[in-house]
Symmetry: C2
Subunit: 380 residues, 2 copies
Amino acid sequence: MKGLLSVQGIKCGGIHCGIKKKNKDLAIIYSSVPCEWSGVWTKNRVKAASIIVNKKRLKDKVQAVVINSGIANSGTGLRGILDAKKMCKITASALNIPEFSVLCASTGKIGELLPMERIAKGIKRLAKKIDKGVSQDATSAIMTTDTKPKESEADLGDCKIAGIAKGAGMIAPNMATMLGFIVTDAQIERDVLRSMLKDVVNQTFNRITIDGDTSTNDMVVLLSNGLAGPPDLAKFKDGLFSVCADLARKIVEDAEGGTKIVRVVVSEAKSIKMAEKVASAVANSNLTKSALYGGSPPPGRILCACGYSGARINPKKIDIWLNQFLVVKDGAVIKFSESRVKSSLASSEIEIKIDLRRGKESVAFLTCDLSPEYVKINAE
Amino acid sequence: MKGLLSVQGIKCGGIHCGIKKKNKDLAIIYSSVPCEWSGVWTKNRVKAASIIVNKKRLKDKVQAVVINSGIANSGTGLRGILDAKKMCKITASALNIPEFSVLCASTGKIGELLPMERIAKGIKRLAKKIDKGVSQDATSAIMTTDTKPKESEADLGDCKIAGIAKGAGMIAPNMATMLGFIVTDAQIERDVLRSMLKDVVNQTFNRITIDGDTSTNDMVVLLSNGLAGPPDLAKFKDGLFSVCADLARKIVEDAEGGTKIVRVVVSEAKSIKMAEKVASAVANSNLTKSALYGGSPPPGRILCACGYSGARINPKKIDIWLNQFLVVKDGAVIKFSESRVKSSLASSEIEIKIDLRRGKESVAFLTCDLSPEYVKINAE
């Protein structure tokens, strides 16, 4: 896997600069030429400094992203914003590009200030050896509680797409920072890039989290340096979707304290929005997810979550399957073989399928179970 | 404590009829004369049979409530509704009162049918000895994962109010059935009773749960038999508030797997609704509650929850106190004595105070911390 380096003109790397005690904590992604770009940002009203700073670059072309892990630089007031700007400025000067062509991102503990001296030294050191950098170092350097680096690539023939991501606390998705950085050598206009990224993120990263409930630092950024020329747009969008879906899935697979992947499919909804409401309520039900951890079939808990989802469902028309077993028919829990369903729940991936019989729309959400380990991790 | 029996004309009792393996599981509350009454119901679109049946009694006077624990009779379709009606009918005939003057309630596992034969026998047995019943038996008979019975009384001089409640899974308040039964000998008109109960429940039971996210069985019922004549209404409302607040607090104190009480106070909000949104987001933040379990100060997590609460807060104006210590000022986490705050978090009751500096309204929510024990209880 060449990771981000599979894309023409892209260089990247990651080092330990001293924000964390050990492990890499500083990454740079660099393009040899300026990029059209697009970002999707947290909807949290409390925004980290990096979000505030990046949003001022919307009219500029971008040539580099600097990312630190360990400290989120959020809840840090004006000082935090000045520090984020400084990170960009130091990176720009080290790479010899304009200040406004650098984006920044942070992830880690909220409410602490960045150790700017160490970061400044780190950026200079990293920039010097960026030509020899490898993608895996960048991927490792953006990790926090992640246990595995997350990369994905797509070779579309006429162009390439590659991405890296971090994010592990999926059980409380609303609080876990999710970062994604995607690069391509396809040449795409800014407006097309924006609408495409928004669309794809809505169907991938946003279906592993709950609508609007995001951390203060969340962002997904897509850079297009155009070195491969204009692509087949439909094929490109499919490729972007597959990279984002792959990264999103890897985030869930690495969820804090999760032991199983849970796929929640809601079908025959009147609208996508209705399907999303139901899927997200079920995917976020602590009681359902505790039961799945314990291997007990929770048909009633799922039915209950459908009811409080806020969607205008008809309770008498809900059918629910656990894996291949029908457990709720016409809104009532039916008799099912407890032992067969239980043994199917022992697998590492579980599907909850909910049929609303109200229309033709469907969505799939990915989540995981809730284990005592989750609480232990977050109590520290 | 005479419990419900402190109110003139009220009789009650509880027995084991065989829904649970052991422990009491069937209760009756009876008034010697018909009562004006009011109820507050779950907002879940999937409603248990008991809710559907009770809502048909709105125009009738009520003289008894029959309650079972162990099985929620929810997600049980038409058969469930017929069973709930049957419970009322058998109770009516055993007490020699009209069928439409009996309310019913159930709590326990969703998706299972009631063992009607055992319940029928139980009701007859219980009705026969209702004259000698004690309040504590009724209170015990409505418990599920509760570890303590929950009762409260208020003697207002001109009348009395008494109530019992159950409900333990407060960490996922949206799924835990909450039942409350309150009786009074005050004589109050139906409309007054209704608006008063709604008001008081909104400020007590609904501030230990999230708005709209309720189980399929939740209800709070207030019966007024009038034997003490008309009360001082203002004093009565205060008394009702104190009984409901006391019961609500007892529910939180007995929360599944909770080890500490957490009081979330939001002040200087532009509206009550804004204050409620912020308080409920913080009170339901798994990350905040895991940190409190572990005894770590979570200023950033609290700030983040304020941001995704959906309330139109100004992030730059938020101040946050943990117990008496200021930890966030003007939306930024400030330096505080980690050791002093930590040692204050070791107490059994913690206060999070959030000042929004947007107006004059304030609310207080009660919740508890999130322990690994919670997941273990709900995995079974």
